[in-house]
């Protein structure tokens, strides 16, 4: 049997919580929020550092604090949430292209929703070793920054003590500080571009404040160790990104943390059809959670328009676009899509 809903929000991170809360505040209450973990919050739960909410709240929250603000909104608005629920597929309804059918795996089995609107707030995932092609052995001790962060902040396990960080993305920089504070040693952060990838404030607060070296135009060209990582080879790159012969040197380390980019998790829609809305990092990777929360509200407004159009029998018009966020954000803030990199 299919459970009918006005809207289904997939993903209980900042984007999904904001979108669900905003839908409810607009009077659209026949909705459900689906979350694959056993709690709401998404990646915010493991981001115990601060810097969240500075732009829109003028306050400096930690990730869990920021998450709690939105969890309270979910509770206040009495929004139905299903945790440990993994979406298996989102398909067009058999008879109308304006409805979707969502199949969801829960611990006891599968359930199906039929809904007019789907908000994809599925976040992003981390790029791994395979897609950047680091040669060498495959020992233990090679983690993405987010995995290392979950190990330290959620599980109470140290992923390693002597660490080389590959890529200067924000999570990698934050992990450099975190590991240092917990007694580990960051040998260096290696960035293949001439300029670091992370926010300037993270370069200052996470690297410079702790004297952690940042090697730009450099990359890891070999990984040593059969069982656990024992070292890396780091080589310098020229302006075209080619390895400079003779520039390689080896460093001992027991851990390699990769912070080499995030990829929007937007591959869930098998058949493009109407009533699909994306927001947050599933749309594109944001620098600030504040923007993600705002986008959740915007997308809720678009869903409201869409539902209104369907109810009154009109063509849903402009909101048929699968990527409403891009249109809106481009109009509102042209600079939000691409960060400007500045020299140090």
């Amino acid at each position: 049997m299919r459970i009918k809903k006005e809207a289904v929000v997939i993903g209980g991170g900042p984007a999904g919580m904001s979108a669900a809360a905003s839908l409810a505040e607009r009077g659209i209450t026949d909705i459900v929020l689906l979350e694959k973990e056993n709690r709401l919050g998404g990646v915010l739960s493991q981001c115990i550092h601060d810097g969240f909410g500075l732009v829109y709240y003028g306050k400096n929250y930690t990730g869990p604090e920021y998450s709690a603000l939105y969890q309270e909104k979910i509770i206040e608005n009495n929004i139905e949430c299903i945790t440990e629920a993994t979406v298996l597929s989102v398909k067009a309804h058999e008879t109308t292209r304006y409805y979707s059918v969502i199949t969801v795996q829960v611990p006891a089995g599968t359930i199906e929703f039929e809904t007019k609107a789907v908000i994809l707030a599925t976040g992003c995932r981390e790029r791994g070793r395979g897609s950047i092609g680091i040669p060498g052995q495959r020992p233990s001790g090679i983690y993405t920054a987010g995995t290392a962060q979950a190990m330290i902040n959620l599980m109470n396990y140290m992923p390693g003590k002597n660490v080389v960080i590959v890529g200067s993305g924000d999570i990698g920089l934050i992990m450099a500080r975190r590991i240092t504070l917990e007694g580990g040693r960051i040998i260096c952060v290696v960035e293949k571009e001439a300029l670091p990838g992370g926010l300037r404030r993270n370069i200052l607060q996470c690297l410079e404040d702790y004297g952690i070296p940042l090697l730009t135009r450099a990359t890891v060209t070999n990984i040593y160790g059969k069982e656990r990582v024992t070292g890396v080879e780091i080589s310098r790159l020229d302006e075209e990104g080619n390895i400079i012969q003779g520039s390689s040197s080896s460093y001992d380390c027991d851990t390699i943390i990769l912070s080499v980019g995030l990829i929007p998790e937007d591959g869930m829609i098998e058949t493009p059809h109407e009533g699909i809305f994306l927001c947050g990092n599933a749309l594109y990777v944001h620098d600030l959670v504040d923007d993600v929360s705002l986008e959740g509200q915007i997308v809720a407004g678009q869903v409201e328009n869409y539902l209104h159009a369907l109810a009154s029998g009109e063509e849903p018009g402009e909101t048929r676009y699968a990527y409403p966020g891009i249109h809106t954000m481009r109009r509102k803030r042209g600079d939000i899509l691409r960060r400007k990199k500045r020299p140090l």
Partner: protein, 495 residues
């Protein structure tokens, strides 16, 4: 000391298949296997293209040709009994230039001499009919070639042979072999022992030395088969390790290639050339390279190198335009245990049989490609050597078939990329324990496919650890990446 009728060294596809063949046909046989790795399929059995070869690449009259054709012909039945997935996709060997055409004819002729069925030369206009729209002017179509999961196959062989009573000893590295004179029983403990072999092994988990006695010794040690022979006093063989690197592409490209596509092989090279193979799970693999190791280089160097990684992408893109390095989710390497050196090139033949110098020792040396395809026929051949010389047959084992049982545990998804549930992960863990292997993330990966998807474990690694801690009471410090010192953590953050 542990005593066996038959002791096998090496729990790869060949060792497992032999143990299964013996225990399947003879319930009385007392069989033990020593494996230096923490689990089965950690070595070269799990590091290859996962292709069931049809037998046309091998020299007419060779054991390779004979056993490969036998392995290919009977595989539906074996896959059914083992409960593993298998697809006879067919394969194309692509001729790109005029001068390749005679080579295609030669391959076809060789295949037909070997007894390979379903070979035909097709021209470009027939490519589409065979689900291929890449480059080439003509091709050899081989209808008998197929694909399967080498982990699933090797593990299923181990599970059935363990269920039939084979004793597995993982993490045991053989360090010495004592042999009795021919026709003379060895009496190591002064009792009525008649074992001809005493094998000493180091337990890699605790460093202790253990001894195993047996009547027959089977050397299916793959890359180290020459060294095991030397320990037994046979100095006739030398393995020339030849590495093959591969890339695995993201599943978003799945469906664009339905069957293995090979170039016309270069006879001097020690492999079949860089080819594209769809895996049974829907990824595409590019590889392998052929890199002979220099003398003294560590044999199990499964590392990958920048130069080869770039070449693979380039050569892969020649066969299948549009492949890019950013589509790779993982790179890995296998090593061929070749009996021919770099200067000799090409292939030698499998060495399979009882040693003349050391009776009771079954030598399996140079089992490179098509060794995986041939593994069951090899096992049958070995069993035929032994069957009248081991304790009397008191019945046969009915193969235990619980691989396809009803699912009922927690269906919570733990791996989103490959849609793997908690229950599947727990089941994989239990199966590792059941054959006596040491639990590792790699062993769970090989059985349940977690961490094999496009996120490569960045989401699920921590969840697997937590699940096993919660549901199986496994101390996260006990679980390793691929065994022994491959620890996941260096300690607690706070005590």
């Amino acid at each position: 000391m542990k005593r066996f009728d038959i002791l096998i060294i090496g729990a790869g596809a060949v060792g497992n298949a032999i143990a299964r063949e013996i225990t399947k046909n003879n319930a009385a046989a007392n069989v033990g296997i020593l494996e230096k790795e923490p689990d089965t399929a950690f070595g070269i059995s799990g590091r290859n293209s996962g292709v069931l070869h049809a037998g046309f690449n091998n020299r007419a009259g060779s054991l390779m040709a004979k056993l490969c054709v036998q392995g290919s012909e009977g595989f539906e039945k074996e896959a059914g009994e083992l409960g593993i997935s298998f697809k006879r996709t067919g394969k194309l060997v692509i001729a790109r230039h005029e001068e390749d055409l005679p080579k295609l004819d030669k391959l076809k002729e060789q295949g037909e001499t070997n007894g390979t069925r379903g070979l035909k030369i097709i021209d470009r206009t027939d490519f589409q009919k065979h689900n291929y729209d890449g480059i080439g002017i003509a091709a050899l179509w081989s209808g008998m070639t197929g694909i399967f999961d080498p982990f699933e196959y090797t593990i299923a062989l181990a599970e059935t042979s363990a269920a039939n009573g084979t004793s597995y000893y993982f993490g045991r590295q053989v360090t010495a072999i004592e042999t009795a004179e021919a026709d003379q029983g060895m009496r190591p403990d002064g009792k009525n022992g008649e074992e001809r072999f005493i094998v000493t092994a180091r337990n890699r988990k605790n460093g202790e030395t253990e001894q195993f006695a047996s009547q027959f010794l089977i050397n299916s040690a793959g890359l180290y088969s020459d060294e095991i022979c030397r320990m037994a006093g046979i100095h006739d063989y030398r393995i020339y390790p030849c590495r093959g690197e591969y890339h695995i592409l993201d599943k978003k490209l799945s469906g664009s290639l339905e069957l293995p596509v090979y170039p016309v092989p270069n006879e001097k090279e020690g492999g079949l050339g860089v080819h594209l193979t769809p895996t049974i799970h829907g990824n595409i693999m590019i590889g392998p390279s052929a890199e002979y190791f220099s003398e003294g280089q560590e044999r199990e160097d499964y590392g990958t190198s920048r130069e080869v990684m770039d070449v693979l992408i380039r050569e892969g893109a020649e066969l299948f335009p549009g492949i890019q390095s950013k589509d790779c989710i993982r790179s890995f390497a296998g090593v061929r245990p070749k009996l021919t050196s770099k200067t000799q090139g090409g292939y030698s033949d499998f060495v399979i049989g009882e040693s003349e110098k050391v009776p009771g020792l079954i030598e399996l040396v140079g089992i490179e490609s098509p060794g995986l395809t041939s593994s069951i026929p090899i096992a049958k051949m070995v069993y035929s050597i032994l069957k009248d010389r081991i304790p009397h047959n008191t019945g046969t084992h009915k193969e235990v078939q619980d691989r396809l049982k009803q699912r009922k545990g927690s269906q919570k998804m733990i791996c989103l990329c490959e849609s793997i549930t908690e229950e599947t992960v727990l089941e994989a863990y239990d199966k590792i324990l059941k054959i006596g292997a040491i639990p590792t993330i790699k062993g769970i990966k090989n059985r349940a496919r977690v961490t094999m998807g496009s996120c490569q474990g960045s989401f699920c690694t921590t969840q697997i650890i937590e699940l096993l801690a919660k549901k199986r009471d496994l101390d996260p410090f006990e679980l390793t990446w691929n065994g022994f010192e491959s620890h996941l953590f260096t300690g607690r953050v706070r005590e």
